[in-house]
């Protein structure tokens, strides 16, 4: 693969474009690979980022991502991801800057300290060289083995040789009880005794041989061991060890060789350990220094916090602990939050006491005013009650006057009524007069008409008498011609002529009488007509008078009604006034009570003001 090419490409990119953008791009790319499940490529890019920006934001994030990936990887099973995709150069970056927490989780890959052990314990590079003097030592092992094995083997053989016989006897003994007497207990004892003696003899011989052989081996062994012990001493004292000597000893395959190699390895290992110890000491020193610095910083932060707390204790609630990125940050924040709440509470208390003070002061003034007003009101009400009492008296007088006036009005109504009745009677009489006059007038007229008719009849009578006279004259003439025979006739005609003359005269008299009757009748009719018109006028006057009287009655009635109403009203007024008077009396009492209560309220408010001022004094200790 072109890993190397890619690497060089990256470094070129980094140098060419702004570092941050490139890293951002890489991180995004890796993140998207990671999300799409291509962990291998994601890890590769994360490694690139770590390499480019080990201590920076990008590098740290990528590092974190790698740790997560690796943790998942170790959980999911073996994968050659790291070994193939990353070269060793990433590892120091990866795990020098990583947090200790992360390192624990990926121990098998991370901790390289374990490796030197296996490295040290592998002495392959020395195995080719073998010294001749150590060849002798090969026999030592065999000699020692022989020395140890010989007495044991001898004793075993002796025991095995004896054992079958013993078991055979015992078998015969248990198999046939009737032969129990064949081997007595004395025989068994002597057999055991013999066996013990043989064993002791054989053991003594074997021991002697062993001692002989081993004394030779031991001398050579002690020399080598002495040499090795010397080397260990020298190593312990810090001086250099005899490397060539150890190499020669270590070349042999026997125990001394092994021991020599082990000592050599131990020496190397202890050298490494010393180096590590020194390194550890150094880093411990560094850690200690940084821990000291951290402690000092912490001390500083705690002191700052304490100073702020002290400020608050002395009442300054504006104090705030700085929200630093340190260990006490959260405590500082909790402190700030608490102070904020406290400040809010205290500022509310201040506000409330202020408004309470103002309220109590203005309340006190108001209540005083109320008290004064109540007193004034009570005074005013007293005057008002007197006025109302006077008014009641006046109203009663008015009522009485109204009632007597009503009486007068009622009398007037009765008088008017009587007048009206009299008028009615007058009107009736006058109507009768008028009717009588009218009848008389009619009769007079008829009389005049009768006289007229009489006059006309008289004219007829006069005409008849004139004709009778004429006829009598003619008869006398005729009688005269008839001479004496007509004498008698002449006399009758003369008589008729006389009668006619008399009738004419009588008619003339009647005529005169009729004329005088007509004249008289005419004057009577005139008089009657005048009388009638007088009666009509009189009737009209009476009617007018009646109307006037009726009007008067109506007026009087209205006056009566009005006066009665006045009387009723004034009575009600009098009663109401009495009630008003009573009410005002109780109002005046209440006013007095109010004045008293207001005075008490003023006292309470003054007490409240004293308490509020105490509270204010306490709260004013705080600066908000």
């Amino acid at each position: 693969m072109g890993d190397a090419e890619e690497q060089s490409l990256i470094s070129k990119d980094v140098s060419a474009a702004p570092m941050e953008e490139v890293l951002l791009g890489k991180l995004l790319e890796a993140s998207s690979y990671e999300r799409s499940g291509d962990i291998r490529r994601a890890a590769a890019i994360y490694h690139e980022i770590v390499a480019a920006d080990a201590g920076g934001t990008w590098g740290q994030s990528a590092q974190k991502a790698l740790e997560t990936i690796e943790a998942q990887d170790s959980n999911s099973g073996p994968n050659d991801l790291i070994s193939t995709d990353t070269t060793g150069e990433y590892l120091p970056h990866s795990y020098d800057s990583g947090s200790p927490l992360g390192r624990d989780e990926v121990g098998n890959v991370v901790v390289p300290e374990i490796k030197p052990q296996t490295h040290i314990s592998n002495p392959d590079h020395r195995s080719g060289r073998r010294g001749t003097s150590s060849r002798r030592l090969l026999s030592v092992r065999w000699t020692m083995l022989g020395a140890a094995a010989f007495p044991i083997a001898t004793v075993l053989i002796a025991a095995l040789w004896w054992l079958p016989q013993r078991f055979e006897q015992r078998w015969t003994e248990s198999g046939a009880t009737d032969q129990a007497t064949l081997i007595s207990s004395a025989e068994v004892k002597s057999l055991l005794e013999k066996q013990r003696q043989v064993s002791l003899l054989v053991g003594f011989l074997a021991l002697s041989v062993t001692l002989l052989v081993s004394s030779n081996v031991m001398s050579s062994l002690s020399r080598h061991l002495h040499f090795l012990a010397q080397q260990i001493d020298r190593r312990l004292q810090g001086s250099t060890i005899d490397e060539p000597g150890l190499n020669i000893l270590g070349a042999s395959e026997n125990e001394i060789g092994t021991l020599a190699r082990a000592i050599q390895n131990l020496s190397h290992y202890s050298a490494q350990c010393e180096q590590k110890l020194a390194d550890a000491e150094y880093s411990k020193q560094i850690d200690l220094e940084s821990a000291t610095r951290e402690t000092q910083r912490l001390q500083q932060q705690v002191i700052e916090l304490l100073v702020q707390i002290e400020e608050v204790r002395s009442g300054n609630l504006t104090a705030r602990a700085p929200m630093i990125d340190g260990k006490v940050g959260s405590i500082a924040d909790a402190f700030n939050a608490t102070i904020d709440s406290l400040r809010y509470i205290v500022s509310q208390v201040v506000e409330v006491t202020q408004s309470l003070t103002e309220g109590a002061r203005s309340g006190e003034a108001s209540v005083r005013q109320v008290s004064d007003s109540a007193l004034k009101q009570s005074q005013t009400l007293k005057h008002a009650r007197e006025d109302v009492a006077a008014m009641v008296v006046s109203i009663e007088q008015v009522s009485e006057l109204a009632q007597s006036s009503a009486q007068v009005a009622r009398t007037a109504i009765e008088a008017a009524h009587d007048g009206d009745l009299a008028m009615d009677r007058t009107v009736v009489s006058m109507e009768k007069i008028r009717t009588a006059v009218s009848n008389t007038s009619k009769r007079a007229k008829r009389l005049a008409e009768s006289a007229q008719e009489v006059s006309q009849i008289l004219a007829i009578v006069t005409g008849i008498s004139e004709q009778a006279n004429l006829l009598a004259f003619n008869a006398s003439i005729e009688a005269a011609r008839a001479g004496e025979q007509g004498q008698g006739f002449r006399q009758v005609s003369d008589e008729v002529r006389n009668l006619a003359a008399q009738v004419s005269e009588a008619a003339q008299d009647i005529e005169r009488l009729v004329q005088s009757i007509q004249e008289e009748t005419a004057s009577v009719i005139n008089v009657l007509e005048v009388g009638t018109s007088e009666v009509v006028n009189g009737t009209q006057l009476v009617h007018q008078t009646q109307k006037t009287l009726s009007h008067l009655t109506t007026l009087s009635r209205e006056i009566d009604t009005a006066l009665q109403r006045v009387a009723t009203n004034t009575t009600t007024q009098a009663e109401t006034s009495q009630q008003v008077n009573q009410t005002m009396k109780s109002v005046a009492e209440v006013s007095l009570e109010n004045a008293e209560a207001a005075r008490e309220v003023v006292e309470v408010l003054q007490q409240l003001l004293r308490e509020v001022s105490t509270l204010q004094a306490s709260v004013n200790r705080f600066q908000v």
Binding site: A30, K64, A65, T68
Partner: protein, 122 residues
Amino acid sequence: MKTIFVVEDGNTEQAMIKALLSQAGYDVLLSSSVDEAWKKLQGMATLPNLIVLDIVMPGKSGLELCRMIQEDSKFQSIPIIFCSSKSEEFDQFWALRQGAKDYVVKPYAPQALLDTVEKHAA
């Protein structure tokens, strides 16, 4: 599209978180201080689905903003996660006590941040 409101004072941190969230398909709003963020939040027509808060910032801290949000009935419902380099257990304890849903320690693995955001973005 879900909106994430990020309050973070560091330029690099801002760039990184914005890029990561944008790439994951979120709409990202940014503020550099608590006061600015609070003002911005008041003026928002639609509330964000999640607020990501840094803790240590100049002026007021993210913890204070968290409390301000929690005390306001308008914003109470918005889930909050902290993203801070304060890594102590008690820091996380305290931050979560202020009403936050989760805590991401800086430096964070990109996927860890995205997982946490996805878990809580309402």
